[in-house]
Amino acid sequence: MTKWGPFEITRRGLLWGGVTAAGGSVIAASGSSVAQSDHLADHLADHSAHTAASPLPGHGSAHGAMITVGEVDETRNGFETAKLLTEWDTGTVSRLPDGRVLRTFEVEGVDKEIEIAPGIMFPAWTYNGRVPGPSLRATEGDRLRIVFRNLGSHPHSMHFHGIHAARMDGVPGAGLIDPGDEFVYEFDARPFGCHLYHCHALPLKRHIQKGMYGLFVIDPDPERHPELTDIARSRLLGAPENAEWQEFAMVMNGFDTNFDNENEVYAVNTVAHAYMKRPIRIVRDRPVRIYLANVVEFDPINSFHLHGNFFDYFDQGTTLTPTLKTVDLITQCQAQRGIIEFSFKDHEPGLYMFHPHQSEFTELGWSGMFDVVEAIA
């Protein structure tokens, strides 16, 4: 087909024009074809030079200029993405008459505008003013008492993924409360694993994607697992065997900022590219454990992919042996969660990326880096 500079376009249904072009182009082509095709060649040459020669500074350079511009004001948000990783709410511990541990959590539903990507404000509904809500952590067999006060503008609830009575389910008629009201959810911490809680007010999609969700981790009680005590102890927060683990809480979420039932921003722990711009420091020879949950709405599946390494995966965290061994990618449907364990002890230090392998989510903000170092000063 005769090329005629930028005018030779096939996409727009001008194929039929091209058929006659061979015969008829003489009329028009004479004066312009040379100049324009030269220009095109110049453009292409310049273009490849440009993309190769302009790496941008900072960690974002791994993906060229594909990153959000600016910084999120974390002080105004009231929560820091760096701290969301490691902050666990273990509640207030007391003893019941029978000697069992009673763990009491206090959670408030609050309307709050948060910055989810630099400059983009989102009118969120939150637990305790943060998205995701507090990462609640208990031990298998504890008696749990969660005092929930709704200070928001809509009815809300806390629906726990766990074993409990229908009365405590956090659905309409069972712990779904109006603004200004208070409800106490009470049940035993079981089964051990990596779970979550979220608002179960209707419409569910809206209440979840507005920010009402959080991790609910139940550590295994080593005494109940005599055959795998060491593993159980490594999972038990506060145990010496747990101390060497570098544990991180990660909630994969998304935000539909224009309410068209599609997410404009994806992230892990709310702020787009937060761990891309400030990578997560990990010490090379200490193991890493990630409590990962997917609460993205509108997209059925999310995933987690680690660069340069493989990991073991415990689906829902309810087993002490991996449900998937030696993988570098796991998928989670909505509300699915699990525990990821890996180590960089045989690696050289450096930046190792992690992101979902839905490229669209990665490119819309959900990606991060592990900065593997010899030691943390």
Binding site: W4, G5, P6, F7, E8, I9, T10, R11, R12, G13, L14, W16, G17, G18, V19, T20, A21, G24, S25, V26, I27, A28, A29, G31, S32, A35, Q36, H39, L40, H43, L44, D46, H47, H50, T51, S54, L56, G60, A65, M66, I67, T68, V69, G70, A117, P118, G119, I120, M121, F122, F255, T257, N258, D260, E264, A272, E360, E363, L364, G365
Partner: protein, 402 residues
């Protein structure tokens, strides 16, 4: 009242001075009242009770898109109820680094350039999605990514060539029918004049429709629909007034008006074609150029129709061809250099007004040329000419519509 009239009778000069002072006072008073109302609105904010907590209304219009070696540039115009802040920009569903010039919030009606160092792909489609601080999104499709033509002598020349091919050449070719048409009788004359009206009718519909389409793409602040109506009406009335200063136009004057109307239409067409190439929204095969040429040949016949009973000099034909076809060249240049839908809509609606004026004048000429009045309009030859004109234009337009 009596007193006033007595004073007036006594001293007309003083009275006039007083009267003008009173008039001045009556000018100042309403202005002062308006000023006070504005001050009160701003200071006391009595409308605050209408504030329902809803986010501000935001609109963003993409006026230009330029693809070049260093990425993509788009010119956006804000039209919100408050200054708008662009927070992030996505290209093909990926956040991309960008710079804004001038930076900061864009106030209502203002424009800003957004530059994205994006490695776009030749010939493929891209979508730009601007996310504001409220989370609202504004999307713009780049249907086919092509580099903005370089602006140098060669590119301007090749655009001029294209303009000449689709504008000037067909008009000139149409005019070469002149000697052959000179011998026609009354029916032939009726046919040719009504053929002209028919082709103009097609152009009128076409130009108006396109003007409204472009007006719809323009920022709301320009009130595109109203602008099209008003510009067309104004150009129609103005040209009618000018044309009728020395009686109803005929002969060379009428031919000139026809050429002017067609020229304005071609200017608008040129703007649209130039812009389409600059943004890669359309391609052009040689077949398309041929189509444009066939489409525009009737314009030459139309322009020469009122001259059949005269013997104008050759230069007059050259000038008429230039007036009718030349603007296509100018339009292409402007369209590819600087383009905004509102200006193309304006050019097309001015052209539509001009075409309507020419239709009226040609019909009037047809009616009075041999004193038959309105019966001439219903003569078989007239109806046949009208139908042929519209049908020919419609048929040849099939070649150029994509």
């Amino acid at each position: 009242m009596n007193e006033v009239s007595r004073i007036a009778a006594a001293d007309p000069v003083v009275h006039r001075a007083r009267k003008s002072r009173a008039a001045l006072l009556w000018l100042i008073l309403p202005m002062a009242a308006l000023g006070l109302a504005i001050v009160w609105l701003v200071a006391a904010n009595p409308l605050s009770r209408f504030g329902n907590g809803a986010p501000p209304v935001e609109t963003l219009t993409f006026e230009r898109t330029i693809l070049s070696d260093d990425g993509i540039r788009v010119l956006v115009r804000a039209g919100g109820s408050q200054p708008m802040t662009i927070a992030q920009v996505q290209v093909d569903d990926a956040y991309w680094q960008f710079t804004q010039d001038p930076p900061g919030p864009i106030s209502r009606g203002s424009t800003a350039w957004i530059h994205l160092p994006f490695p776009w792909v030749l010939g493929e489609a891209h979508a730009i999605n601007i996310v504001t601080n409220t989370g609202a999104t504004f999307e713009h499709q780049i249907a086919v990514a092509v580099p903005k033509p370089a602006h140098n002598a060669t590119s301007l020349l090749s655009q001029a060539l294209l303009g000449v091919l689709v504008g000037l050449v067909p008009v000139a070719i149409g005019m070469t029918f002149y000697p052959a048409l000179r011998g026609v009788g009354r029916d032939g004359m009726d046919f040719l004049l009504s053929l002209t009206v028919g082709l103009l009718a097609f152009l009128l519909v076409d130009a108006t429709q396109e003007a409204f389409e472009l007006a719809g793409e323009a920022a709301a602040i320009f009130q595109g629909q109203a602008m099209v109506w008003l510009a067309a009406a104004a150009s129609f009335l103005l040209l009618m007034a000018v044309g009728r200063r020395q009686g109803a136009p005929s002969g060379l004057a009428l031919a000139t008006f026809i050429a002017l109307g067609i020229g304005l239409h071609n200017l608008g067409e040129g703007l649209a074609i130039g812009a389409a190439f600059a943004t890669g929204a359309a391609g052009l095969g040689s077949f398309l150029v041929l189509g444009f040429m066939a489409h525009n040949i009737t314009e030459g016949i139309g322009i020469s129709a009122p001259l059949l009973k005269k013997r104008p000099a050759l230069w007059a034909f050259a000038a008429l061809a230039l007036l009718a076809g030349g603007p296509a060249v100018v339009g292409l240049w402007i369209g590819s250099l600087a383009y905004a839908p509102q200006w193309s809509a304006l050019a097309l609606s001015v052209g539509a007004g001009a075409i309507l004026q020419v239709m009226v004048e040609v019909a009037a000429y047809l009616m009075r040329s041999d004193g038959r009045g309105t019966t001439a309009l219903l003569a078989p030859a007239t109806v046949a000419g009208l139908t042929t004109g519209v049908a020919f234009m419609y048929g040849t337009a099939m070649l150029v519509k994509v």
